[in-house]
Subunit: 174 residues, 2 copies
């Protein structure tokens, strides 16, 4: 296992400011591009990250710590931000994500104080038993997945424009 | 064509501070992980970006603007940072990248002042004739490719640790 609580927190703490730095003030062309019907644009990815801070990671973590292994996680709707879109500006969204993430990483620091807790379990609705270390690792890789998604979506916008260089550009290979 | 000079400059200007935000102060475990022998770790990706600022984008751009369509681009060694590794710290590397990128985007602002210049051509050693708009688009997508590479390499480190969630995490699908 490569997972260590503090190294995971390093990434979790950096994602909101990284996205703020990368996305703040970009033209709408960048923020509203997607990969075709039914796919998310960068703004919608930020909405999804907010939704996860509210209703996924910490509720699941608390279920594991407070209720033990037999309790199924509270439900999470990964399309909630599409069916019920928020009307806030990008700058408000990025701030909201930053605040929620700060509060949530403080909760992790307070709740997870020993390595033995990493073995605690909970019940995922699809996978069955999962470990607390797997949940925290997934939270990190979920951040990385969505940073990767944002840059891939933005790169797609220039697929035709790069001409023959398309052959050399890894992010366009999908 | 989606390419617009100023929108491209928005991305080019944000990449160094985005990487600085994301990578500064990370544990060595994150900065030295890679995807197996012969692959680059996040620090080496930053070295490569510096090498490109020095010897790729602007020399090629100047060849197009100053010498016209028949001149082949000056050579570029994409493994230079591996065969001749720099001994600077990560913080120095990130600063160097930021300074070089700032100088180079200023050069673009000074040199490329009309849309007709986007049709200027140069000779790529492998592809033959390429357009200035293609070079600038590629510069942007090259940034996105390497941000994507960094997060993919870091995600790989937790592939085993996420347990069954691997199935849901796009960045691990390769």
């Amino acid at each position: 296992m490569n997972f260590k609580r503090n190294e995971a927190l390093e990434i979790l703490g950096r994602t909101p400011t990284t996205l703020e730095n990368f996305l703040s003030g970009l033209s709408l062309g960048w923020m509203e591009c997607n990969e075709g019907e039914g796919t998310w644009n960068p703004t919608q990815v930020v909405d999804h990250l907010i939704e996860c801070e509210r209703n996924n990671w910490v509720p699941r973590l608390k279920t594991m710590v407070e209720e033990g292994g037999n309790k199924v996680f509270p439900p999470f709707d990964r399309d909630a931000h599409i069916t019920n879109p928020s009307k806030t500006s990008l700058s408000q969204k990025l701030n909201e994500f930053k605040c929620l993430r700060f509060q949530n990483t403080e909760i992790v620091r307070g709740l997870i104080i020993s390595d033995t807790q990493l073995e605690l379990t909970g019940k995922h609705p699809a996978f069955g038993e999962v470990k607390l270390s797997e949940l925290l690792s997934t939270w990190v890789v979920h951040d990385l997945t969505h940073i990767s998604q944002i840059v891939r979506v933005m790169a797609e916008r220039y697929r035709e424009d790069v001409g023959p260089w398309e052959a050399y550009l890894g992010v366009l290979k999908n």
